[in-house]
């Protein structure tokens, strides 16, 4: 049985008929070919799949796509506006906040919410805010630098 669903993805309203068991992350990656949202685990720990759902950071692997019916979803691909990088993206670039880049989209999306709630976070606050995102490459220090850089640029935008 498929379910009709309407979701605004990166500003565009899309309609789907969905098998209810399809996870939001698979809808984004497979039906929408927005493959910037990654999968790193089954248990909701790694955060590589983080997207914004009505402005809140959520793990798109721990949500059925049908639950997003009527919502607005922003993925990493929807963050840059008119070709301009989002300040958080810029921060990750400037401060070498990524190595393999696999955790990066999720890290960036969580950081965007973090700065939208706290424009001038301390290093501890950033670390705490990113506790739901694992990175195995960077050792996090440059990621925290990146978020601070973004905060300095006016952060959330």
């Amino acid at each position: 049985m498929s379910i009709p669903v309407r979701i605004t993805i990166n500003g565009t309203l899309r309609q789907f008929d969905l098998d209810p068991r399809m996870l939001l992350v698979h809808l984004l990656r497979d039906a929408c070919t927005l493959t910037g949202t990654h999968v790193g685990c089954e248990t909701g720990i790694c955060g590589a799949c983080t997207v914004l759902l009505d402005g809140s950071a959520v793990k798109s692997c721990t949500m059925f796509a049908v639950q997003a019916d009527g919502a607005e979803v922003t993925t990493i691909e929807g963050l840059a506006k008119n070709g301009d990088l989002h300040p958080v993206q810029q921060g990750f670039w400037e401060r070498h906040g990524l190595q393999c880049g696999y955790c990066t989209p999720g890290m960036i999306m969580t950081s965007v919410q973090l700065l939208s709630r706290n424009a001038k976070p301390s290093r501890e606050e950033i670390a705490h805010g990113l506790a739901g995102n694992l990175c195995r490459c960077t050792g996090y220090s440059h990621i925290i630098d990146a978020v601070q850089y973004a905060a300095g640029m006016g952060g959330a935008r």
Binding site: D19, R21, M22, H26, R29, T33, L34, T35, G36, T37, H38, V39, G40, C41, E42, T43, I45, C46, A48, T75, I76, E77, L79, A80, L85, Q89, F92, W93, E94, H96, L98, Q99, C100, G101, Y102, C103, T104, P105, I108, R123, I126, A127, H128, L130, A131, N133, L134, C135, R136, C137, T138, G139, Y140, S141, H142, I143, I144
Partner: protein, 780 residues
């Protein structure tokens, strides 16, 4: 090497590869979409050791969307055996087929493969396959495994001992122990770890029946190894096989391998006439991608009362798991190469016993063998200092070779290229404000706090390696082409997956050729483009791969000089090259590299006897390993009530020779230290006595999070290596090698007042609490 001014090398440039990654438009293997793509999933053994008594695939085959369900009997004949390339004499190897035959040997052993139209149906198919198992006795403890009468991992091998490797070096070991005033002994367990790159493995295979060509995309560190080894497995000739490592989401050694799934996907693409994809789940990654470390060692140090170390004896039992993957048995032998660390230790004897157990294979996890060695020697230095009442830093200094003594031959049989261990130690002490730190330690202890300072002075082996020491070549290949437009394409046989060589190699090449870095593109990871290579592992890429590119640019400049001489109408030896311009005394103009490239391809005015084009390729064979080194100093405080360790200060001074891009070096060091903090304080792969893996998810395998990371104080010294024209040494593993013992030593130092002299890692709160609790109870 040309005498170019270095405009880019040494600069902390931001990375060229980043824009696509921060926009989410990089392509990892699982992001590939091919028309008609089928999805692969595996039925894996829930038992560590069992006989497979029956497999019923009928229900699975009937599921909507399921295309094929195949067992070992269907595919093993067609897929060869999973290779082990380690050159260990008398190695006993079990036959490692891609799917299990009539027995399974570890939890996660693939038994049946299901192929379906989409990943959901493939998973439904997996659930519907019925496999009956007859469980057999299990052996998980390697020390038990080598006792007479032990359960055998592979009964047909007749033993659990895969190999015994002996290191006997330097002066006479028995004499050293006879002369000793004391012998200090310690058993050390180096726990099993799971590499856990955040991107699990993934494979896509596509076969062109008309051409007989196969393309395989794999989340691998070693596309060239795959191209060398898969032909023998799946029967596609090397020159019809293209391997692509697209964006790879971290490796840490876990993807330095040839896996059953890679061969099987290739086979399935041929067999089913459709492209196939397998994306590993995290649980599969934990059960069926290689683990690291897992060595038990018994150590004895012969010392004089003044601290002089006369000799070191070791017996190491290395838990290999149930199969040898690509380098499984070679990893513990690397431990034997740097067992003496930074120190002058005249006599060494080491016996390494590789043992099979019913677990996933161990193999090269970041550091591979060297973290084990470094941890051991650094723990032993502290133990010796403690036992003899000596200062641990003085003890280390006493055994350092002087900077003038390099190249320094060790009793382990290797020659350290260059070093200034005193310099790095001194700098680290400055950065740590050593005197103040030691006063803080004294004051803290006076007030009853458990405060400790740990020091580790390490040396490691990088630039792996000279071909003589490698199973199949340790050189690296590169190619540089100045295009007709003057743009420069650099192709490397290394396979970066986060290390940033699209940037650092562009820095090197741009400097060599005097062009703008914007004009340089670095390509890698596709065997159709990078024809030869030995890939990325063992902190080798920048040193060996970077040098191969330097050799190419040297050839290009030499050829361009002939062109320039011809065009400027002077003798070739009169042409000078600087800042991208060719000039000659008395010539009225200078020529840019781009101008010469234009002439070289238009080819209407070639110097006599010279080929058109401006391209060169090179293989660099490094004469020796490189040996980066450094000092890490850590201060910790322990919560007496809970055993929780808090890192108060972290200082690292690393010497990897000249740094091409300090920002990237810093990133490598910080990332490596994070792995070390994880290993020292909480990471551990746990199997229970039945061989069940208890750390099969991120829910149970603890890794560092952002909140676990201290603020680093980082510094460096620069001691060039004589092994390569750039003088560089490599830095990919330094953090994982130097940091672990520093953290462990700090924790044990904090427990000194309780009489604790050693604890095995991970130093979890419970383990530390138990140590505190028992000592407290015992001393009350």
């Amino acid at each position: 090497m040309s005498a170019q001014a270095k405009k880019y090398s040494g600069q902390p440039l931001k990375r060229i590869e980043d824009p696509r990654l921060i926009k989410g438009i990089g392509t990892y293997t699982d992001d590939l979409r091919l028309p008609g793509l089928l999805h692969v999933a595996f039925v894996r053994s829930p038992h560590a050791h069992a006989r497979v008594t029956s497999i019923d695939t009928s229900v699975a085959k009937a599921i909507k969307g399921v295309v094929a369900v195949l067992t070992g009997a269907d595919v093993n004949e067609k897929c060869g055996v999973v290779p082990c390339a380690a050159a260990i004499p008398d190695l006993k190897l079990p036959k490692h087929t891609v799917l299990a035959g009539d027995r399974v040997y570890f939890v996660g052993h693939p038994v049946v493969v299901v192929v379906a139209d989409d990943a959901y149906a493939a998973r439904d198919g997996v659930d519907a396959v019925e496999v009956e198992y007859d469980p057999l006795p299990v052996v998980v403890n390697p020390e038990e495994a080598i006792k007479p009468g032990a359960t055998l991992t592979h009964p047909d091998l007749g033993t659990n001992v895969a190999f015994t490797h002996n290191v006997n070096g330097g002066t006479d070991i028995d004499e050293a122990f006879r002369r000793a005033d004391r012998v200090i002994k310690q058993r050390v367990y180096h726990q099993r770890l799971t590499p856990m790159p955040i991107e699990p493995r993934a494979v896509v295979a596509s076969y062109h029946a008309g051409e007989g060509t196969m393309s395989i995309w794999s989340s691998t560190q070693v596309p060239h190894y795959l191209r060398t080894l898969l032909p023998g497995m799946i029967g596609v000739a090397e020159n019809k096989l293209r391997i692509v490592a697209p964006e790879v989401g971290g490796g840490f050694g876990a993807k330095l391998n040839v896996y059953a799934e890679e061969a099987l996907c290739g086979h399935l693409a041929m067999r089913l006439g459709a492209p196939v994809k397998w994306a590993e789940s995290r649980r599969e990654n934990a059960t069926s991608t290689i683990h690291g470390r897992d060595q038990i060692g018994y150590y004895e140090v012969a010392v004089k009362n003044d601290g002089t170390i006369l000799g070191l004896k070791a017996r190491t039992i290395a838990d290999l798991g149930s199969y040898c993957q690509l380098l499984t048995p070679a990893v513990p032998t690397l431990t034997g190469l740097v067992l003496t660390g930074c120190y002058r230790i005249p006599a060494v004897k080491m016996e390494i016993v590789g043992v099979y157990t019913h677990k996933m294979a161990t193999d090269a996890y970041r550091g591979a063998g060297r973290p084990e060695a470094t941890y051991l020697i650094e723990r032993l230095m502290d133990l010796v200092a403690k036992e003899l009442g000596l200062d641990r830093v003085d003890l280390r200094l006493k055994h350092f070779p002087a900077p003038t003594e390099f190249p320094f031959g060790t009793a382990c049989g290797v020659t350290y290229d260059s070093g200034n261990y005193q310099g790095a130690l001194e700098k680290a002490r400055q950065l740590a404000d050593w005197k103040a730190l030691m006063s803080e330690r004294t004051a803290a202890r006076k007030s009853g706090r458990l405060f400790g300072v740990g020091v580790s002075t390490y040396v490691e082996i990088c630039a792996i390696g000279p071909s003589a020491a490698m199973p199949a070549g340790g050189w690296e290949w590169g190619c540089v082409r100045v295009e007709i437009s003057g743009k420069v394409t650099a192709i490397t046989g290394t396979s970066p997956h986060g290390q940033g060589q699209e940037t650092s190699f562009a820095q090197i090449v741009a400097d060599q050729l005097g062009v703008s870095i914007e004009d340089v593109v670095v390509m890698h990871g596709d065997t159709a483009v990078a024809h030869y290579g030995r890939d990325t592992y063992g902190s080798r890429a920048t040193v060996i791969g970077g040098t191969a590119l330097v050799m190419c640019t040297d050839k290009i400049i030499a050829k361009a000089k002939i062109f320039a001489a011809h065009l400027l109408k002077v003798a070739p030896d009169q042409v000078a090259f600087a800042d991208g311009q060719f000039s000659a005394p008395g010539a009225e103009k200078t020529l840019s590299l781009a101008a010469i490239a234009g002439e070289a391809y238009v080819a209407k005015n070639l110097p006599p006897g010279l080929e058109p084009g401006l391209e060169a390729s090179s293989f660099f064979e490094i004469p020796n390993f490189t040996f980066p080194f450094g000092t890490h100093i850590v201060a910790v405080e322990i919560d007496r009530e809970t055993g929780q360790v808090a890192i108060q200060k972290y200082v690292a001074v690393d010497d990897c020779g000249p740094q091409i891009n300090p920002l990237l070096v810093e990133g490598q060091v910080q990332g490596g230290i994070a792995h070390s903090i994880g290993q020292a304080l909480f990471e551990q792969t746990v199997y229970d006595e039945n061989g069940q893996l208890l750390t099969g998810e991120f829910m149970d395998y603890a890794m560092p999070r952002a909140t676990d990371i201290p603020e680093y104080i980082l510094g460096h010294t620069v001691t060039p290596s004589p092994t390569n024209p750039l003088g560089i040494k490599g830095v990919g593993e330094a953090g994982t090698i130097g940091a672990t013992p520093a953290v462990a030593n700090a924790v044990i130092d904090a427990l000194e007042s309780l009489g604790v002299t050693h604890l095995d890692m991970p130093l979890t709160p419970e383990r530390v609490w138990r140590a505190i609790h028992q000592r407290t109870v015992a001393t009350v």
